[in-house]
Symmetry: D2
Subunit: 134 residues, 4 copies
């Protein structure tokens, strides 16, 4: 699936969420998806930073899109584990996620996700996400 | 800090979020906090289940409350890592979090969080959360 | 499988390792295994403490034993993820592991492991271990 | 510190361990260390594969070397968390670790470690390791 098909699928799958709280896919290629989110003020935490749950939810969305890009529109792929390392303060503004496949097996997909604002070499967070494939 | 003081603090600290998206503290005791959230329909994912980000955000809130309960109202305590294991499908309805301190050091607090619906012995998820203490 | 059967199985499965580097099962009950290791001097790290790899390997052994206790002697159950939080300095002497099942599914088993020396309420480490079941 | 200085330091710091059970540094550059281990038969698990604890211990060594390469010979830097994802069967033979800094702070260093045998693009395991800096 390409970026447009992924975004259409996500919009259908999460009818109650808004893109501002979920993000969207910017590009998709074999083994890789890039996503973007423009968090609204509900995403802020004390200190005026983007909250941890906003970052983690965005990482999970990017991982979900990366799985779907490779196995097709299977809504019931589910997260089985997500580990998130908070690396740097996350200032307000657009957030990007670079999601790469570490392994796509028959039952599990394991992915590495880097979350960054303006400098991909200084990520604000890093996640490992495992999805169970139905 | 007790449950009421924690809830007042959280309401002030997150003026843009609603309790339905954040949860509240039910009880606080040395080494332990219990929290509850009543997720709204924005929290649902395909299959009609409570989404992963909702669970992770709730676990993070419970961990934050547990740290504050022990070190006082220090808004700038920040999550440094969160590992979440998804254990069972999370059906709609009230969610509870049992948060326990594994270690409270000078610089880091490490906590175990169990998320469950109607049966604490069959958690829907388990988190390890590390907070950096300023 | 009980403690004796588990220890006999482990001795057969790891013919090149010694109990001092692997540990053994002390007791097994539904949902729970306790294990013990008496680390030798090769297990020390600078500062005279028990090394991290010794603790992680011991946690993995306890998790393996806990899985086997429930599904029988299936040597090819394999670790799919292990998260270890180092909580306190681990002084030399006997180490214990309390391993509990969080969930035993058809394909994955997720376990919580606490590692301690003389006080189970002050663990030196905590692990989440996921095993893939063949 | 360069590769030779790191290896000399590790030999001094772990006088009871052998290179075959610990590995050594192949190269060190800003933000990056590559390490190698040639596991002996004690490192095998059922199925003739390299055991999980061997992989995790090797990842921890590579992370330790990466921290030391940047902050100098401070033996008491200690692991505070290690998350390991097992990705593929690990066949016997030399193992390599590519360790990269995700963030080097004043108090914590967070690193990404990829473990592979003959193909760096198909890692057998991936670790996130956090060290506390004294």
């Amino acid at each position: 699936m390409g970026a447009d098909a992924l975004n259409a699928f996500l919009t259908d799958a999460f009818p109650h969420s808004k893109p501002g709280s979920r993000g969207h896919v910017v590009s998709a290629a074999p083994g890789h998806v890039r996503a973007r989110i423009d968090p609204n003020e509900q995403a802020l935490r004390p200190g005026g930073l983007i909250s941890g749950p906003t970052q983690m939810g965005f990482a999970d969305m990017a991982a979900y899109a990366l799985v779907l890009a490779h196995i097709g529109p299977v809504a019931m792929a589910v997260t089985s584990a997500l580990n998130y390392q908070f690396l740097r303060p996350c200032r307000p503004g657009p957030l990007f996620a670079d999601a790469h496949l570490l392994r796509l097996g028959k039952r599990l997909a394991v992915m590495d996700i880097r979350i960054f604002t303006d400098d991909a070499d200084k990520p604000v967070g890093q996640a490992n996400v495992t999805y169970a494939i139905p």
